[in-house]
């Protein structure tokens, strides 16, 4: 292996490396320059957690494998191979200049590690190529010639490496060495020009990914401000943040976000990979600037349930969903709003609730909050105005639990909608009005509990983006779990039949709570089993993002989950969200096959109240 390269060869090699590295650097810099034009900063808070996330998601390939086991594992083989090959490649070029990095014996020793890896990489890349070019799952989209080329290159690299270790004749070795080198150089040339740039950007993107989900910028509306201020605020609405630009360039086009999207699965046109990510890539490169949000497909934007499944599953750390961005443009700048939502916004402005009602019999029956009480029981419009009349019973079951545990609570006399539908549908002005009203009502509150995860998210995290919050918000399942742990309520397994749980998106992904409801259910039901898509990877019921108020459309977003529940053969379905409760109640009945008894839909509070041992405290 002590090859002696001629001077000409060394010059050619040096030229080749400079050109490739130069072009590589130029292409990366061109994109990073656009990233830095985005507004806001790339976050670096909780540094250690971010590093740990990079270790898990990049080096251990956690999400890649979890999302799609076999292809994910094959990809991990290729990735680990690359890591191992880093040193080999440096040494390879160093040899070309006659200055090997490793001594002969070290080289030999290291090859015992590299050879098995190169075989694993070969297996991995061939399996991935088979999937991409022969079995061709829909989510991958059109056949990409670059991908074929890259697969071929990686295979050649492995083969030439292996050949190089077999003791070829000096001439053959030299030709083999050059093939290996050229392939690396062309590969390096291709990487930044294709989705293979994720090799460089994905680790950065995973590091910088925001912790909050969803993470949309705030819209601060000052109706007393000057026209110039308004204009600049509105102009900002079309601009991406640095994180968002990095997302667009990091996307590896795997289509996992499409696979999990409830709107897409329900037959809608929404395709998050293209509509929210790739459609923005060329405009960014063409304009060299970041005011491209106006280019998002509007119709697709209205279909999104804002469930965050796409963001959760993305292996390169993208915050995929951008319905908030396109809707706020439609509402605040264009004034183009579907009629049903105009009615909703008018109701919210006129009456402070989604339905335009004035009285709530449920609120009248419950005690009023005074500062001596422990909890504000936040009802939310769904419960207050009986969007599903059965849900009032769930609220009362929860108050029964509180009473048994001797917990004092009361409802606010002047509770308005938390603003979730206005916020998610882009009407940030109405949202501002509601938020400011509610902040006044909550001035004396210290602890808030609600059965609605949408309200919980808004009252704490979303309001918290605008103002300081002096109260804490809990979901009722969290309070129930706490009361159980403290021994203030006792629950026994009394519910028969097969019981399953549907994780609400807002509870699991956005509030990061998947355990509390399960603790309560396990304590109450004999036979608990999980649905196929669960926890943070749950499938949206179809009502999120204000879609509860959407007119009936051809899409059947709202039926996909219900069908899964019917197929699961459950007798009882537990939910932890009023919207899921309502959607499932509507969806399950027509889907239940004849002869089978209807699946019972219950809230966690219903189940616990049924199985409460009422002798403990009180």
């Amino acid at each position: 292996m002590e090859a002696h390269f001629t001077g000409i060869e060394k010059i050619v090699l040096a030229l080749g490396i400079s050109i490739t590295l130069g072009s590589f650097a130029y292409e990366v810099w061109r994109r990073l320059r656009i990233v830095f034009k985005g507004h806001q900063y790339l976050p670096v808070d909780r540094f250690g957690t971010r590093i740990w996330r990079v270790i898990r998601e990049v080096f251990l390939h956690e999400k890649v494998i979890k999302g799609r086991f076999w292809p994910g594992l094959m990809h991990a083989l290729v990735f680990w191979g690359f890591v191992v090959f880093g040193l080999v490649t440096l040494d390879h070029f160093a040899i070309g200049f006659g200055r090997p990095l490793m001594s002969h014996s070290v080289h030999k020793l290291y090859s015992y590690i590299v050879i098995p890896f190169s075989i694993l990489v070969l297996v991995g890349i061939l399996a991935l190529a088979y999937r991409r070019f022969v079995s061709r799952p829909k989510a991958l989209g059109k056949i990409s010639p670059t991908s074929g080329l890259v697969a071929l290159f990686i295979a050649i690299l492995m083969i030439t490496y292996l050949l190089g270790e077999t003791g070829l004749s000096p001439m053959a070795w030299r030709i083999n060495w050059w093939i290996h080198s050229l392939v690396i150089l062309v590969f390096m040339f291709l990487v930044p020009r294709s989705k293979h740039l994720h090799l460089v950007l994905a680790p950065l993107n995973i590091f910088f990914r925001p912790f909050q989900q969803p993470d949309h910028t705030t819209v601060n509306i000052d109706l007393e401000g000057s026209e110039d201020e308004l204009d600049s605020m509105l102009a900002d609405l079309t601009r991406l943040t640095k994180n968002q630009v990095l997302d667009v360039f990091s996307c590896v086009e795997c289509g996992r976000c499409i696979d999990v999207c409830p709107a897409n699965r329900g037959g809608g046109i929404l395709d998050p990979k293209n509509h929210f990510i790739l459609d923005l890539r060329q405009p960014l490169l063409d304009s060299g600037d970041v005011d491209v949000l106006g280019g998002i497909n509007v119709e697709a934007g209205w279909e999104c349930t804002t469930c965050q499944a796409c963001t959760e599953v993305c292996p390169v750390g993208n915050h995929v969903e951008k319905s908030d961005e396109i809707r706020r443009l439609e509402v605040l700048v264009e004034g183009k709003v579907p009629q049903e939502y105009q009615k909703l916004f008018m109701n919210l402005q006129e009456s402070g609730n989604t339905e335009g009602h004035t009285d709530s019999p449920l609120a009248d029956r419950l005690p009023t909050y005074t500062p001596d009480k422990e909890y504000v029981l936040w009802l939310g419009c769904f419960a207050r105005y009986e969007l599903d009349p059965n849900f009032t019973k769930s609220v009362e079951n929860f108050t029964k639990i509180l009473e048994v545990a001797n917990v004092s609570y009361g409802v606010l006399e002047n509770e308005h909608c938390s603003g979730d539908p206005a916020n998610r549908l882009g009407d940030k002005l109405t949202y501002t009005m509601l938020r400011e009203h509610n902040m006044k009502q909550l001035a004396q509150a210290r602890k808030v509990v609600t059965l609605c995860p949408h309200c919980a998210l808004n009252l704490e995290k979303e309001y918290g983006k605008y103002t300081e919050i002096n109260y804490s918000v809990m979901h009722h399942t969290q309070v129930i779990e706490q009361l159980m742990n403290e021994g203030r309520i006792e629950v026994e397994k009394g519910t028969d039949g097969k019981v399953t749980f549907h994780d609400p998106c807002n509870l699991s992904r956005m509030l990061d709570e998947v355990d509390a409801p399960r603790t309560a259910i396990r304590a109450s039901a004999e036979e608990f089993f999980e649905l196929e898509e669960l926890g943070r990877n749950t499938l949206c019921c179809g009502a999120g993002g204000g879609l509860w108020w959407k007119k009936e459309t051809q899409g059947r977003t709202h039926l996909v989950r219900a069908e899964q529940v019917v197929a699961s053969q459950a007798d009882t379905l537990i939910t932890g969200c009023n919207f899921c409760f309502g959607m499932m109640n509507q969806g399950l009945k027509p889907l239940t096959p004849e002869g089978r008894s209807e699946i019972q839909v219950k809230d966690v509070a219903d189940l616990v109240a049924e199985n409460l041992v009422e002798t403990t405290t009180a």
Binding site: L332, G335, Q339, E355, G356
Partner: protein, 253 residues
């Protein structure tokens, strides 16, 4: 083209309507008001005509107490250029002739090419104001308008007839049209529109008194009664009595 759009503030469909203790009208303080539905479509149609011709003026005009400035602002936010507010206490004002003459007085000086009003108000539903104004100002008039084509100093309108029939009519200008809901897709006020509306002119006028020929006597919620009548006798007698009751007492036969 210079277009006037009449907008009315009416109680929203979900609003409570408690009757005032004097039984002359509802208790307005408890009512949630909104823009009359068909007026919203009339406004949109006017704005679209103005935008299509890229010139002209859309003036909203409304009649009532101070509270109606809310719908005036809404119309200005959506894009109307200026507004006229005929300030008058409308409690129990249900005479369309009087209403129309107030509007006609306020409109006649301005020489509008078109006057749009909603087909009817969602509270009284008389469907007369726009038609009477047309008559008072000597304008061509069409009601129940479903579509409008402008051009060449004339307009063509599609009118909705009964039983799914339609009619196209040509009218000379000026004309007064009453607009049917659903002919377009009304917009939502943009943030710029809302901010801009604050600077737009609202001219407040006090009308000359007009004698009303109609007034409300008393309003009340109709009360329903439950009564049980036992019918006895032989089958024939029962049938006969039953038919008698249906025919003469309940009047369903």
């Amino acid at each position: 083209m210079k277009i006037a759009v009449l907008v009315k503030q009416v109680p929203g469909a979900e609003s409570p309507l408690p009757i005032h203790s004097n039984q002359k009208w509802v208790d307005e303080d408890a009512v949630a008001y909104v823009m009359n539905e068909s007026d919203n479509y009339a406004l949109e149609e006017a704005l679209q005509i103005k935008e299509a011709n890229s010139e002209g003026e859309v003036v909203v005009i409304s009649l009532g107490p101070d509270r109606i400035q809310k719908v005036i602002r809404e119309a200005l936010a959506k894009g109307a250029d200026r507004a006229i507010h005929i300030q008058i206490d409308t409690v129990g004002a249900i005479d369309p002739l009087a209403t129309a003459s107030h509007f006609a007085d306020a409109l006649k000086e301005e020489n509008f090419d078109l006057i749009f009003s909603g087909l009817q108000s969602d509270d009284f539903g008389m469907a007369q104001t726009g038609v009477i104004i047309g008559e008072m100002l000597g304008m061509a008039t069409a009601s129940l308008v479903m579509a409008i084509e402008t051009g060449g100093g004339k307009i063509k309108v599609k009118r909705e007839l009964e039983a799914g029939w339609f009619q196209w009519v040509s009218l000379s200008l000026p004309a007064s049209l009453t607009i049917q809901s659903g002919l377009n897709t009304p917009r939502y006020p943009s943030l710029k529109g809302i901010m801009g509306a604050k600077k737009k002119e609202i001219k407040v006028v006090t009308p000359n008194p007009v004698e009303a020929n109609q007034s409300l006597e008393k309003i009340y919620v109709p009360h329903s009664d439950k009564q049980t009548v036992m019918i006895e006798g032989s089958v024939d007698q029962m049938v006969e009595k039953l038919i008698h009751t249906f025919r003469n007492d309940i009047k369903v036969l």
